[in-house]
């Protein structure tokens, strides 16, 4: 088969597994923060509409967290974008050019969303109805970003479309509208965002159990309910996405490829585990520990999904390009330097995190599960 795009001029600077591993791990972290930002915006809007004091308290908690979620979503979005360009540059750049103006408008949408997020976080009390307007601006902007990214990343796996699309519209005003899996893919990401953000709401509820037990209990239950609803719905949407793929692709996750099947089974296992644990925590005298386990399972689900996504992309591009067989000229010295600097930065960031924790100590009160505030209202 003639490659629809020509190869890059330089060899890969490191073995593909290293680039791929770093890219997917940072992408998983990016998704977690992005989920809190996108899902958190939606949940904050729901709470703002409901309007009771407990809703507004939960909404305010989300609004205050949005600047951090957004900052880290952007910071962790840079790394996977870098690694995907190294590994799949010829497909990525070509697909981006095919939808160029819409791709570039992502920057404007992000600036708009980020500005509105700070506006919300700093003016929540004063805004009243303006909250909904600002939340709508953030939500629509972030949805636009996700929509274009989904188009880009599906289009880059369809090299056979490239030439025809380019000759039809060299100005780039087009999308990958013919992609059958686009809608379930978008819904899957959106529901995933709600699930992770609702876990965040539940976590904030747990933190409030000591000083404001009623608010804490309600908030935890609200988060847990949203998590359960969105996760169950997402399983159905996920199956729609999976079986919307051609047979030779979905069958990879159904036993045809051992690695892909293990990842898929693992992701489903962790999602179900998270669901069960989140609800077990409600009846437990030690909800925090169980919640940490539930949140860990949810994080592992996201990691699994990210690796499934990578496996699917590899399968779709294999007729045109096999990263594992690409020429490599490893820069071990530079990779080692990156490792050393990364570890040093981790130490520094741990120090920063400790300072931040010292600056914002958790609210004091009797310990949970020792006759103090219990999760269940036993009175």
């Amino acid at each position: 088969m003639v490659a629809p795009v020509a190869p890059e001029s330089l060899a890969l600077p490191s073995p593909p597994w290293l680039l791929q591993g770093l890219g997917e791990l940072t992408l998983a972290i990016h998704f977690l923060f992005m989920n809190v930002a996108l899902g958190g915006t939606l949940l904050a809007a729901v709470y703002a509409v409901k309007g009771k004091a407990r809703h507004l308290e939960a909404g305010f908690g989300l609004a205050r967290a949005l600047p951090f979620a957004m900052a880290y979503a952007i910071a962790f979005g840079v790394a996977p974008l870098l690694f995907v360009q190294v590994l799949y540059g010829r497909f990525f750049y070509t697909a981006a050019i095919l939808i160029a103006p819409l791709f570039l408008a992502i920057v404007a949408a992000l600036i708009l969303a980020y500005s509105a997020i700070y506006f919300l976080a700093w003016r929540w009390d004063a805004l009243k109805w303006g909250r909904l307007v600002a939340l709508a601006v953030v939500f629509i902007s972030l949805c636009y970003v996700g929509f274009v990214q989904a188009n880009l990343f599906t289009l880059m796996c369809r090299p056979n479309l490239f030439r025809g699309m380019y000759l039809a519209r060299p100005g780039g005003f087009q999308l990958n509208g013919g992609e059958a899996t686009l809608l379930p893919r978008l819904l899957h990401f959106a529901l995933g965002a709600i699930a992770i953000a609702s876990l965040f709401v539940a976590m904030q509820g747990l933190r409030k159990l000591r000083l404001a037990p009623e608010q804490g209990r309600w908030q935890y239950r609200s988060g847990a309910t949203w998590f359960a609803g969105s996760t169950v719905a997402n399983m159905a949407i996920g199956l729609w996405w999976l079986f919307g793929l051609p047979r030779e692709e979905w069958s990879l996750f159904m036993g045809r490829d051992l690695w892909a099947t293990i990842i898929f089974a693992g992701a489903i296992f962790f999602a179900v585990t998270a669901l069960v644990l989140v609800h077990l925590a409600i009846g437990s005298p030690r909800p925090r520990r169980i919640f940490i386990l539930a949140a860990s399972a949810a994080v592992l689900t996201v990691v699994g999904m990210v690796f499934m996504r990578a496996t699917l992309r590899e399968a779709e591009l294999r007729p045109f390009y096999d990263a594992a067989a690409a020429p490599v000229s490893t820069q071990w010295g530079a990779a080692a330097l990156f490792g050393v600097i990364f570890i040093a930065a981790l130490v520094l960031m741990t120090y920063l995190a400790r300072l931040a924790i010292r600056a914002f100590p958790p609210p004091e009160g009797p310990p949970l599960g020792s006759g103090g505030y219990r999760f269940k209202n036993t009175g």
Binding site: V78, Y114, A334, L355
Partner: protein, 507 residues
């Protein structure tokens, strides 16, 4: 062509110019401003100056917004834009420098965390720990600049990398250090300018001690900058300097940058010596704007120093790899590209072929008839033969043009397309106009780039006509004269008059 070309009729270069100017302005300020913030905080702490601390707290909110929202996202914007406009060069840079970029990302991550912690922990941490956070922010931001500066400098002076292919040769290239020192000084200048601007608009009025401190941050690095820029220019290979100096608007950009620097210095001196008697708000605003224009012009100039390349010696400005040129010249751009609808120029498809060639080979820097270096009007004011020759021999033109990446027939098609698509410039037959259209594209009269003055020294107009009649005897690269006899006569007289000032006016 490896990649398709995103065709923007008004010129894709505008997009990168706007985003890059905003980004470099903010990102350099973000570094210098970070240092200034933490040093001023130390001053406030030392003197128990609560007023200054309060001002710094409010200022750090502005700083957070400007750096995290606009600074970081316009940085992503530059990346997106170069991916769309110069995908081949971006791919080369990404593959070569992936670990440098990954290291830069680590610094960016630390920088993001540090500025958030810094802003949100005012009065919640002890002053020393808070200042440490500020130092971590400044250190990460500066190291981020160190990483990116090496890559930017590499594009202009890849140095030994062209032969060795080594990452370290690429990164530690000849202009890396002077460029880094120059950028460091710019960081301080912008920090001073922004702080002065902030002070001018405080409700309680500017504090004279802080105004003077800001002026020192502007003045001292500004005074050292010319020397560092001289060092930078000396580090550029002479042949690259010669090409760049022949870019027609090179002098305008250089003069704008120099004028802005001089004007900032004068205004800073006026504020310093007036001791509060000048309108600080107006002065500070003008100085900040001058900083934007001056710095923007200098960055644009730096980009153009690379011409005709994006990566000197490796990738031309239109994205064509230097190594791919021979094949394109012999096989043709249309035949070898996957992004062309026609594969060879015929009489029937000449217009379509010309347009596609223009998009692939020229539209990265030029437009057909918009404001950004339009080619149509210029070629429409020439006869078809000369226009086609020019299109094919772009490598001879002054101004850092890359070689035409196609066959002579393809050059003819693109020239035809451009001539038909635009109205000609107002044509005058006076000698100066003929020189500009016919000779000035490759020569200067008395400048350093293929000057003609010596050729016609001591000559008469009749001799000049003879020279024009027999141009190819000078060099096989010269085209035949294809203009009218009237133009030839006017040009001959003008050339002689310009080359022999005493004889001006003689016929």
């Amino acid at each position: 062509m490896t990649y398709p070309v995103w065709y923007v009729p008004f010129g894709s270069a505008w997009i990168i110019a706007v985003i890059a100017t905003v980004h470099v302005f903010i990102s350099h300020f973000a570094i210098g401003g970070g240092l200034m913030l933490v040093l001023l905080e130390a001053t406030a702490s030392r003197h128990d100056d609560e007023a200054l601390k309060g001002w710094l707290k409010r200022r750090s909110r502005f700083f957070l917004l400007l750096t995290l929202v606009l600074g970081a996202l316009t940085g992503v914007g530059i990346w997106f834009t170069i991916s769309l406009i110069s995908p081949a060069a971006t791919s080369t840079l990404i593959r070569l420098f992936v670990w440098v970029w990954a290291i830069e990302w680590v610094f960016f991550l630390a920088e993001t965390m540090a500025i958030l912690v810094y802003y949100y922990t005012w009065d919640r941490l002890d002053p020393f720990a808070h200042r440490i956070v500020g130092w971590i922010y400044f250190g990460s931001a500066y190291l981020s600049l160190v990483a990116i500066n090496g890559i930017l400098a590499f594009q202009l002076t890849p140095g030994r990398w062209l032969a060795s292919g080594s990452l370290w040769d690429a990164f530690f290239n000849p202009t890396n250090l002077p460029s880094l020192v120059a950028r460091t000084l710019v960081c301080f200048i912008l920090a001073g300018l922004f702080t002065l601007f902030g002070l001018a608009f405080t409700k309680t009025g500017p504090r004279p001690d802080l105004v003077r401190r800001s002026l020192l941050w502007v003045g001292i690095p500004l005074a050292s900058l010319p020397l560092v820029l001289f060092w930078y220019f000396k580090a550029i290979p002479p042949e690259q300097r010669l090409i760049a100096a022949a870019v027609p608007y090179f002098n305008h950009l250089a003069l704008t940058a120099l004028f802005a620097m001089a004007a900032i210095a004068l205004l800073a001196a006026a504020v310093w010596f007036s001791r509060g008697k000048v309108a600080l708000r107006q002065f500070a605003a003008i100085m900040l704007l001058l900083g934007l224009f001056g710095f923007g012009s200098a960055e644009w100039l730096r980009e153009d120093l690379r011409l005709p390349y994006l990566i000197v010696g490796n990738t031309y400005a239109n994205g064509v790899a230097v190594s791919a040129l021979p094949e394109l010249r012999s096989q043709g751009l249309l035949a070898t590209s996957q992004w062309s609808s026609v594969k060879a120029v015929t009489r029937q498809n000449e217009a379509q072929a010309g347009k596609e060639i223009f998009v692939m080979a020229c539209s990265q820097c030029h437009t057909v008839r918009s404001r950004l270096i339009p080619l149509g009007p210029r070629l429409a004011s020439l006869d078809e033969g000369f226009a086609s020759w020019l299109a094919y021999r772009t490598d001879l033109m002054r101004g850092g043009m890359p070689p035409f990446p196609g066959t002579a027939a393809e050059a003819e098609a693109v020239a035809h397309y451009l001539r038909v698509a635009a109205l000609p410039e107002a044509i005058s037959s006076d000698g100066a106009s003929v020189f500009r259209r016919r000779c000035g594209v490759c020569h200067t009269m008395s400048g350093s780039f293929r000057p003609l003055a010596r050729v016609f020294e001591g000559e008469k107009a009749e001799d000049a006509v003879s020279v024009l009649n027999d141009l190819q005897s000078f060099s096989s690269d010269m085209p035949k004269w294809t203009g009218s006899e009237t133009e030839k006569s006017a040009l001959a007289q003008w050339l002689v008059a310009q080359s022999n000032p005493a004889k001006k006016g003689a016929s």
